[in-house]
């Protein structure tokens, strides 16, 4: 807290509050989206047709064509909102880094993880979205072909844990910040959230393996 | 020299100082408090038990009124108090409590219905009245006829101090923290302010004021073992004494507490013994019943302290790296009782001793606790001898405590005296103008600068200030403590005089630049010794036992010769204080009688 050296009249506005609401709502929306997304993609584990049927449904209903860019915008908006809190100046970054190292405090490190994963997701997520949305329709075969190319395998092996970590921590953070969990329930919730993150990473890995195993019909 | 002018300069920003300051600031006067710590760290916060006020809301306080409170206070003081002041105090206490409620104290309130309480190890039941629901309640504290101690859970002093400082911030009182007054500026008749040293930068600053208030708390830290905060080293009393004019009232009136934990001397409540806790010696055997067959551990605070000291002297103490101590045993009270009724005791033991009182013994010994003594003032809080100088709270000898203070009356005094003195001080300020004598200011600053230069430059020697202080503390603790006798007291006076000479040769071992804790102590070490000599000499001359002043060689209270108050002043260049005496009270409402604290002899 800075000590006021000048007397000034604070402009009366709730701008910080509205931005914080938006940050939370976009975050919560993206969490729900990511969970659904993972479950939908994982449908490939029940067979190529299962995934294709679901993908077709989303395209026929234009949810992919409209929803996709919407998610993209939400994704960018969420980044812009959350970035207000992330240090970009070297001085602040080094303060935060030193602070984290001094404190030995898990939740503080989790925030550093959130900030770092955010940067990676911004780039990789954008690439992923661009690639998928400019190459509709989505089919299991096309996804499998991409992954089997090698480059995308590495790409998704990086992106997957980044996203799941960010989503898991974000989920916990929203619950804490908005008082949905209390002191008494915090440790339990944290455990639950960790397991959830691990489960989603596991599903993701299984799905990637599944894509590798799909026989791709060479066109 | 940086000079700051104000209407009221309060030296000290604890409860008493801030309460006076609030009164002045609300009346429109410019007010500055100096504090050696941020105001909310003042020692007032440590008074956890509560403050007495005869509201009479709780079941066990029914029928209470200021008359009963007055009588308890006078009896408690062993008739050493000023009865006019005690009367004003008892009458104002309920108003002060309500005022604090108005300002935001979350006082505990009456909850109607049945509940249980412990006394003497036994459980009793009480029923709170429905019509009193939500009014300020009270708890029991030693030495009172009624339950009268208003409280907020286990942090009464803390909430009072925070609320008072909130009020001070609201009223525009400016607090200059880490600023220690090192001398008063006066011309022999009028006090004009103080010279202070900044404890962040080490720089000196002059504060000029129409009125100066000393509210620096007690001087427990001249004793080796004390429950007081480390800041209670008597700096206010020292600068008053250094004027050569202002007297310290009853310097020998010092209270001890039986159960300070070893080594830090944080006190654990007497509730431990009240609930059935026992004291054990080196053989883990009880001993209090041998000295006090009927009351044993439940005897009053001073009696228990005396027998504990006696028992340690008999070689029954438990040796430790911090000296001998005894054990307090509450294990048999059981985990349930300890975890609920004595929760703070459990926390203190866990946090500050690493001891689990449910399964382990608590190391305790008596420690200095309260300074009834202080800057002698009249009933308006105006100090004797200098116009424009006032004092309030534990720093003052106002004098409502006489030779023994009741539990809960210390916290009450801070805000009650603060209120009364505040009102009187505002009256004073309204009709008062002062001429600042620039020569007196210049001379004072020159003296203080020179003092500091001599200390930093080791011009008078290189005596280790800590060694000197420790030597002084040992003398007071061992010879001017709980039990006193002529031989020891005289030996203490003689030794303190030698140590006083040593204190004049103190020189810094560090460079003294900036905050310098060593310099801070070195500046006041001579003053501390003068104060110590007032205590020892005053105690030596007072050949009677009264309240906390317990002479083995004069066990009777002697109203014929000693129903009077000591006034100690220090003339420059002297090696002993000058002791004068005055009658304890002009108005006698309650004639001297038996305190009802057990068998005592009284010579009338």
């Amino acid at each position: 807290m800075a000590i006021d050296t000048t007397i000034y009249v604070r402009p009366q506005s709730g701008i910080s509050a509205y931005l914080d609401w938006l940050q939370m709502l976009t975050g919560a929306g993206l969490i729900l989206f990511m969970w659904s997304h993972m479950i939908l993609v994982a449908s490939v584990n029940f067979g190529v047709d299962a995934m294709n049927t679901i993908a077709k449904f989303f395209e026929d209903s234009y949810m992919a064509q409209v929803g996709g860019p919407m998610i993209g915008l939400t994704f960018l908006l969420h980044f812009a909102l959350a970035a207000r809190k992330v240090p970009f100046r070297t001085e602040q970054q080094s303060t935060m880094w030193k602070h984290g190292k001094m404190l030995h405090h898990k939740d503080t490190w989790l925030w550093v993880v959130q900030a770092v994963t955010a940067m990676i997701i911004l780039i990789m997520g954008a690439i992923h979205m661009w690639t998928v949305l400019t190459d509709l329709p989505i089919t299991a075969q096309k996804s499998a072909a991409r992954i089997q190319g090698g480059f995308w395998l590495v790409f998704y092996l990086i992106l997957l844990p980044m996203v799941e970590l960010h989503v898991g921590i974000g989920f916990y953070r929203i619950a804490v910040k908005w008082g949905f969990i209390k002191r008494k329930t915090r440790q339990g919730f944290k455990g639950f959230e960790n397991i959830l993150t691990l489960i989603f990473i596991a599903i993701g890995l299984i799905t990637i393996v599944r894509f590798i195993l799909i026989q791709v019909i060479q066109v | 020299m940086e000079t700051i002018y104000t209407d009221l300069l309060s030296i000290g920003a604890g409860l008493a100082g801030e309460r006076v300051a609030v009164e002045a600031a609300v009346a429109g006067f410019d007010t500055i408090c100096l504090s050696i710590v941020p105001p909310r760290r003042s020692h007032s916060s440590a008074a956890q038990g509560g403050m007495q006020a005869s509201l009479g809301n709780c079941a066990m306080g029914q029928g209470d009124n200021p008359d009963v409170h007055f009588q308890d206070t006078v009896k408690g003081s062993d008739w050493g108090c000023d009865q006019e002041v005690a009367r004003m105090f008892a009458e104002t206490a309920p108003i002060a409590v309500r005022e604090m409620a108005f300002w935001g104290i979350p006082w505990n309130r009456v909850v109607p219905g049945k509940s249980t309480y412990y006394k003497g190890g036994k459980q009793f039941e009480k029923v709170e009245a429905k019509e009193k629901e939500g009014l300020i309640t009270a708890r029991d504290f030693g030495g009172t006829a009624k339950w009268r101690t208003c409280y907020t859970s286990d942090g009464t002093g803390h909430t009072l101090l925070y609320t008072m400082d909130n009020k001070a911030v609201e009223a525009g009182v400016r607090v200059h923290d880490r600023m220690e007054a090192i001398s008063l500026i006066h011309d022999g008749e009028t006090c004009m302010g103080a010279v202070a040293r900044c404890m962040k930068t080490g720089k000196l600053r002059v504060y000029l004021a129409k009125a100066t208030l000393i509210a620096t708390g007690g001087y427990g830290r001249i004793y080796r073992e004390t429950t007081n905060a480390v800041i209670n080293d008597g700096s206010g009393a020292i600068i008053a004494l250094d004027t050569g004019i202002v007297p310290i009232g009853n310097p020998e009136a010092i209270q001890f507490h039986p159960t300070g934990i070893v080594p830090t001397h944080i006190l654990v409540t007497e509730g431990c013994r009240g609930d059935g806790g026992t004291l054990l010696d080196v053989d883990e055997k009880r001993f209090m019943h041998e000295y006090e067959p009927t009351k044993a551990e439940l005897a009053s605070r001073d009696v228990v302290s005396r027998w504990m000291t006696h028992h340690i002297r008999q070689g029954k103490g438990v040796p430790s790296p911090y000296g001998n101590h005894l054990w307090l045993d509450i294990r048999h009270l059981g985990a349930d009782h300890i975890k609920t009724k004595l929760r703070e005791v459990e926390e203190i033991c866990n946090n500050f001793l690493g001891v689990d009182p449910i399964t382990q013994l608590i190391p305790v010994r008596p420690a200095q606790h309260y300074t009834m003594a202080g800057v002698r003032t009249n009933k308006d809080g105006a100090a004797y001898g200098l116009k424009g100088l006032f004092s309030a709270g534990e720093a003052a000898c106002w004098d409502m405590h006489g030779f023994n203070r009741l539990g809960g009356n210390s916290l009450a005094e801070t805000i009650v005296a603060g209120r009364i003195v505040g009102i009187k001080l505002v009256e004073f300020l309204k009709g008062y103008e002062v001429k600042f004598n620039t020569q007196a200011i210049k001379d004072r600053v020159a003296i203080d600068k020179e003092r500091i230069e001599r200390l930093v430059g080791c011009k008078d020697g290189r005596e280790n200030v800590y060694a000197v202080r420790n030597a002084m503390q040992d003398q007071l603790m061992d010879k001017v403590g709980i039990f006193r006798n002529g031989k020891d007291l005289q030996s203490a006076v003689d030794n303190l005089q030698v140590i006083y000479e040593r204190s004049k040769k103190v020189g810094l071992h560090s460079n003294g630049i900036g905050a310098s804790p060593e310099l801070s102590l070195a500046i006041k070490i001579q003053g501390m010794l003068r104060l110590a000599l007032c205590v020892a000499h005053g105690a030596c001359v007072r050949t009677e036992s009264r309240g906390c002043h317990a002479r083995e060689d004069f066990p009777e209270r002697n109203d014929g010769d000693w129903l009077k108050r000591t006034l100690a002043t220090w003339k420059e260049g002297d090696v002993l204080p000058t002791l004068n005496y005055e009658p304890v009270t002009k108005v006698i409402e309650l004639p001297p009688g038996d305190r009802g604290y057990g068998s005592t002899k009284i010579i009338s």
């Binding site: 602040q92 910040k177 | 710590v37 505990n108 909850v111 803390h158 830090t264 900036g514």
Partner: protein, 247 residues
């Protein structure tokens, strides 16, 4: 067997042009029931008279002795050496201005904070000394006391990532203080007035929820819970303001 403790203590006197920030090592024999108060006092009196640190009540009540103990902000008086390893590293609290060595200027910071959040009961009523006090439910009094227990030690601020990065952040201590007054019926401030104080990025919306404040608070104040409640309250006030129904 008694341990020999090594204290690595940060040293710097900003008033001394010759002083440079560095670490000094002091060795001390551990004694039973030793707290950092006992240890540091001993070091100052026996080894280095210039060592600067703050203690006041030494009983965990006043909050003066907060410092960074082996990486964690905490009250030194409340820290027993037996709970620490042989090597103890002591640093002054970050965020606050350094006075010297382990001593920092919390006074200036907190008095500014108290002015900023107007930490007092706002009322238009006049105190009448002749009438009985207003009644209050005891359970409510105890709830208020629970938040009032804060000792302004500064640990929550020093442990806060946001406060470390951003000078203007109020910190958990200020937010807890406001929560205390919101709870108190004697304070007549409206939700809009509270919102003006803490409904900003300097206040509750600047909090990133790292919860270090909750985890280091030596008084175990329910900071996590209070910050959550406050964010919701201020969030709703903002929504109500949008529809012009905020009081």
């Amino acid at each position: 067997m008694t341990r020999r403790l090594t204290f690595n203590i940060f040293r710097y006197n900003p008033q001394d042009p010759e002083s440079v920030p560095h670490t000094d090592n002091f060795v001390l024999e551990e004694a039973e029931r030793m707290t950092l108060y006992i240890a540091l006092t001993k070091i100052r009196e026996e080894q280095d008279h210039s060592l600067t640190f703050d203690f006041c009540c030494r009983a965990g009540i006043c909050g003066a002795c907060a410092m960074v103990i082996n990486g964690r902000p905490g009250l030194a008086c409340k820290t027993l050496t037996k709970d620490l390893p042989d090597e103890i590293t002591l640093m002054p609290l970050p965020v606050f201005k350094l006075v010297g060595d382990l001593s920092v200027d919390t006074g200036t910071w907190f008095s500014a904070m108290n002015e900023k959040v107007e930490s007092w009961v706002h009322t238009n009523k006049k105190m009448d000394p002749t009438v009985q006090e207003e009644r209050m439910n005891n359970a409510l009094a105890e709830e208020i006391y629970e938040l009032e227990r804060c000792v302004e030690c500064g640990c929550c601020v020093a442990a806060c990532g946001t406060a470390n990065m951003r000078q203007d952040f109020l910190g958990a201590v200020a937010l807890n203080r406001i929560a205390r007054f919101i709870m108190d019926p004697r304070d007549e401030r409206t939700e809009k007035e509270y919102f003006e104080v803490v409904g900003t990025d300097e206040g509750i919306f600047g909090c990133m929820g790292l919860l270090a404040c909750e985890d280091v608070c030596p008084k175990q104040l329910p900071l996590q819970d209070q910050l959550g409640i406050l964010r919701r309250q201020m969030g709703w006030t903002a929504v109500k303001q949008l529809f012009h129904i905020a009081k």
